[in-house]
Symmetry: C2
Subunit: 361 residues, 2 copies
């Protein structure tokens, strides 16, 4: 583009002064909400008063990779902690195509209809490479997203599943402090993300659709065992009969697994996110579970275990990451691996050598 004249259509005339009072108000607004100079204390106060904008900002803060934000993020989380922990946390998983978004839309609307406040978060293993694909397109939940009593947040992107999971776990605390009493964590049936979600929810729901009759083929190891309920979606129209057959088959399969320590026998149910048939049943089933486990004390026990798990898991992850990300280890690891593969040294000698390298640096 050629250089344009100094005085062009893009130049501005000196405007008239804005009234003092207005411009200072605007400046304050910008300061607070655009320049992010809002303090941790203010953020906490706004969150616990139910301010969704502040909640959103706080989640952005904990998702920040900027090391300077870490301290403030921790301050906000710890400030919110006393107001958290008062919700039902529901994990939902299912492979692409089972209709997770439409299910969550219908399920979430049912819950807000009952007077609940619903937050939807996501853990997406693909988001460690690109920006999250699930929940990324919020328009897929166009009714829920407009609902005042709902809050939808796409999956954070990050370097590792552990990192993304940690951020989601922290976001749960913030959502609860903001008054959300039902937290839905969505994930997709690939990678290790189910295990991560399972370790941060009270109830784990596996979403399926009826297929060719061999519903159990190809279910990833462990997923069925983690499920507190299998919900067969798209049970509408021509699919109703197939869905009923799938229900029988899943019920039989669930009996192969040892009883759960919760004392809960996992249930299978069918629903249609489109007609909303069966959606209410899903929530009734969850309520039944919560009543059972709250009475038995299992509900709190599990949460305490999860808290411990996350502390130890974070420690273990950090220990590994400081080892494997050390320049000297990066430099030597491949070499040592090759020696082990060539049977020049044993795996243990290789490990010892690298640990000695790490100790010296």
């Amino acid at each position: 583009m050629s250089k344009i004249n100094k005085i062009s259509a893009l130049s501005e005339k000196d405007g008239v002064n804005k009234p003092e009072i207005l411009s200072s108000q605007v400046a304050k607004h910008i300061q607070e909400f655009r320049k992010k100079e809002i303090s941790a204390a203010e953020l906490i106060e706004k969150i616990i008063s139910g301010d969704k904008v502040a909640l959103s900002r706080a989640i952005t803060l904990i998702e920040s990779t900027n090391i300077k934000h870490l301290e403030k993020a921790n301050e906000v989380i710890n400030g919110c902690l006393p107001y958290a922990n008062k919700s039902v946390r529901i994990g939902i998983t299912g492979v692409p195509g089972v209709g997770k978004s439409t299910f969550i839309e219908a399920f979430g609307k049912h819950l807000t209809g009952l007077g609940k406040k619903v937050a939807v978060l996501a853990i997406d293993p693909s988001s460690t490479l690109s920006h999250g694909s699930i929940l990324g397109d919020k328009t897929r939940m166009e009714e829920l997203v407009k609902d005042e009593n709902a809050f939808i947040r796409p999956s954070a992107s990050g370097e590792s599943l552990g990192g993304v999971a940690r951020k989601t776990r922290e976001a749960i605390i913030l959502c609860e402090a903001c008054g959300f009493d039902t937290i839905i964590i969505e994930t997709v049936g690939v990678g290790q993300s189910e295990t991560a979600v399972h370790s941060m929810v009270d109830f784990f729901l596996l979403l399926k659709i009826a297929g060719a009759g061999d519903e159990l083929q190809g279910i990833k190891r462990g997923i069925m065992e983690m499920a507190d309920a299998v919900v067969i979606n798209k049970a509408d129209g021509d699919n109703i009969q197939k869905a009923k057959m799938a229900k029988v088959e899943f019920n039989r399969a669930l009996h192969f697994f040892p009883p759960k320590s919760s004392g809960w026998q996992p249930k299978v149910t069918t629903c249609s996110a489109v007609t909303t048939d069966g959606i209410a049943d899903v929530y009734d089933l969850i309520t039944e579970y919560i009543t059972l486990t709250t009475t038995s004390g299992y509900f709190n026990e599990k949460r305490e275990e999860q808290n411990q798990y996350w502390m130890l898991e974070t420690i273990n992850e950090q220990l590994k990451s400081s080892f494997y990300n050390h320049p000297e280890i990066i430099k030597q690891l491949e070499l040592v691996k090759q020696q082990v593969l060539n049977h020049e040294i044993s795996p243990f000698t290789g490990a010892q050598f690298l640990l000695d390298v790490f100790k010296k640096v």
Copy 2:
């Protein structure tokens, strides 16, 4: 007891001198074999010449908790490595009562009858608390223990399953260098020991007995999925019919699992360790597996993966152990855990605090 006279029945007369030549030979023998002053190089030489006494001694050396023995142990292992890796490694698991010992006795005798050299090792999670209970009573394999082509070694005892598993993995290398071409690793169906065994063998065999018809109830998660074969033992006398029914049921259950990356469809078979019916079939089945996976290249791929796994696993274990065994961490961990449980700090703040403590010490 009252003090006895200086000259009593317990005193000894000066004996006659032994012939020079004999006593020096004896002394040398004692030096070599009792005082354990045999060098690493000599141990290696003896092991690769097929000396079972030297093999036994080397395993004792790697099992030693004396830090001074570590270097020598590593020297022996690395010296044996070029002669190792030439065997079929078979993992056998089953809950107490399925007849593991009698099965291994019958199976082992069948193998030595075919001209194989068989080493039997064990990983016993209970041995981390007491001395190993499985294989501890060698008389349970009284035929095999007398067999010149067999070597039986009870489970090492140790502080952690990881430690015991590591020692067993190292013992495999020594046994192979000593000429054993079939290595059997026994474990018991409790704890995490199956996963450890699975990660060091080529073929994983689940031993079961026929019961009341609901064979699948109570099978621990994951075990069925790890199995390359389910062998129903005690298929003799009145039990034959029940065993056949169990076979049908296990076959059906195995089809619920996704295909294995080995390309192998897990098999179910019946046998009797007492009558030896079906014992030969078990080995034929393993041979079939080895042929398939050797041809496809999976056999070597898996071994290489296992080598890598053991190196990284050892590193991760050591990193954790140096953290959690540090006096300052031991001192603070419970306190921080309590703060997390009381919702005073988040699990992540707790983790960060402890990591900071560790970094400073």
